[in-house]
């Protein structure tokens, strides 16, 4: 199949960038979207042109590295699918595709379709951990955890930090990501001791990074490749409210 790609090309963080139209011919429907870009890049390189830069690592939908907008939809819009798991059979011959990087002040473009998502790492550093004393390990099942809590914590923990939630949000909010971490750790007994200091620290870092606010549109959850529920944001809100009464400093 043959495609027309309108790709965002930007030489570096300080370049203004522009769209470039690239013809992609001889594409197999069995290729993943990233393999298609590899194929296009080989052609570009053999022509002496700069390849399209995009981030990728595991290519099996679990690392959170890849991701960009395809025709205005993060990861291409297929439910619960990262762009590395998206296949060209989803598209038709002759189709025009617009490829754009995530657009957010907190995610500056590194080059072309690749953005710097270190803002997420700094939110994690602010409180997305549990403090554990080292020593002899506890018996694995000694700590009782309610099944419902374990399931919800697990669901929240499936977040891969790809940034699609920020990209999809009309306000470029990082609330689904932050909410997923707050929910994942706060629901478990290991995370309970730091629950209320964590939510304050992580939401303050979220704001400091320049993300926007939640208006409960639901786009983040709808485009999340892991289907993280909007409920994690409500739980984070509730925890931050409770923290105003629980914290004593």
């Amino acid at each position: 199949m043959n495609l027309t790609l309108h790709v965002w090309r930007q030489k570096g963080p300080n370049d203004s960038g522009a769209f470039e139209t690239i013809q992609a011919s001889g594409i197999s429907e069995h290729m993943s979207f990233l393999e298609m870009l590899d194929f296009v890049n080989e052609k570009l390189e053999s022509d002496g042109k700069q390849p399209i830069v995009f981030e990728h690592d595991c290519r099996e939908g679990i690392c959170g590295c890849c991701g960009f907008m395809i025709n205005g939809q993060p990861h291409g819009g297929r439910p619960r699918t990262t762009v590395c798991q998206l296949h060209m059979r989803e598209f038709s011959d002759g189709e025009e595709l617009t490829l754009e990087p995530w657009r957010a002040a907190a995610f500056p473009v590194v080059k072309d379709l690749m953005v710097d998502r270190n803002a997420f790492d700094r939110i994690i550093e602010a409180g997305g951990y549990v403090s554990v004393r080292t020593g002899s390990p506890q018996d694995a099942n000694a700590l009782p955890i309610e099944k419902d809590h374990a399931s919800r914590a697990f669901d929240a923990a499936t977040c891969i930090g790809c940034g699609a939630c920020v990209a999809a949000c009309p306000n470029a909010a990082g609330m689904l990501f932050t909410g997923a971490k707050v929910t994942h750790l706060g629901l478990l007994p290991q995370g309970e001791p730091e629950r209320y200091t964590r939510v304050v620290a992580m939401t303050e870092q979220h704001d400091a990074e320049g993300f926007g606010h939640c208006t409960n549109h639901g786009e983040c959850s709808a485009y999340c490749p892991k289907g993280i529920s909007l409920d994690v944001i409500a739980r984070m809100n509730a925890d931050l409210l409770k923290a105003q009464f629980k914290n004593r400093d």
Partner: protein
């Protein structure tokens, strides 16, 4: 109290202010509608309702000042959040597709200011007695009659007559209905959003919360629109 300042400056803190002030204004809108629907009970009932509201000037002004304060908090927080949202995405997308967001949710920042502009018009129209947009055939300022003191502590308020005069012009009625539709959209999303902002949601009750928000918004639109329509068509005061 530095913690409170920190909280109220945070994104979620501002949203909580929006939710709580929105809840108070939502309550006011319902009360206002229920009060006004007394027009269907006749002239005496509505006039008595107006007189009872106006009889205690001190209390009236305390309520007005409180409402103004709540409205200011709602508007100031929303402006701050919208500015942050703009700064969070300085460069927009060439293409952006919505998957689940509603027209109402995406237009909150437009429906809000329009409803606010309507509120100013509405207050000038019925409280002051001035048709600021000149939508009526004759200037309402000359026809709206204010309450008069008939005896010590006794008021005579021609509310019913004023409503009939106020809604005599089709352009005024059209503007009111337009504003009510926007108010309904704003409240429909706002009330549902409030549950989530305050963290009061539970997947079990999520559909109920959505139904409640939409249902009350529809009741408000129908109730409020019925009054100018009833006057214009002569069902009331005809």
């Amino acid at each position: 109290m530095s913690w409170l300042l920190r909280f109220t400056k945070s994104t979620i803190g501002l949203k909580v202010i929006m939710a709580l002030s929105g809840l108070a204004l939502f309550g006011f809108v319902i009360g206002h509608m229920l009060g006004n629907l007394q027009i269907y009970l006749g002239e005496t009932t509505l006039d008595h309702y107006g007189e009872s509201l106006k009889s205690n000037a001190g209390l009236l002004w305390i309520i007005r000042a409180t409402l103004l304060g709540i409205l200011t908090a709602h508007v100031v927080s929303s402006v701050k959040l919208v500015l942050r949202s703009k700064a969070a995405r300085p460069q927009g997308y060439k293409q952006w597709k919505s998957k689940v967001s509603t027209y109402a949710s995406r237009t909150m920042k437009m429906s809000g200011p329009i409803v606010l502009a309507f509120l100013v018009y509405h207050l000038l129209h019925f409280t002051v007695g001035f048709d600021s947009l000149g939508l009526g055939d004759t200037a309402v300022s000359t026809t709206i009659e204010h309450c008069s003191h008939v005896a010590a502590g006794e008021l005579d308020c021609p509310v019913y007559a004023n409503v009939i005069k106020g809604f005599s012009a089709p352009a005024i009625v059209a503007f009111y209905i337009f504003a009510q539709l926007l108010l309904g959209m704003h409240l429909g999303h706002g009330a549902y959003s409030m549950f989530r902002t305050l963290g009061l949601n539970n997947p079990r009750y999520d559909r109920l919360a959505r139904a409640f928000a939409t249902g009350v918004a529809v009741v408000i639109v129908v109730g409020n629109c019925s009054i100018p329509l009833a006057v214009l068509t002569g069902v009331v005061g005809g």
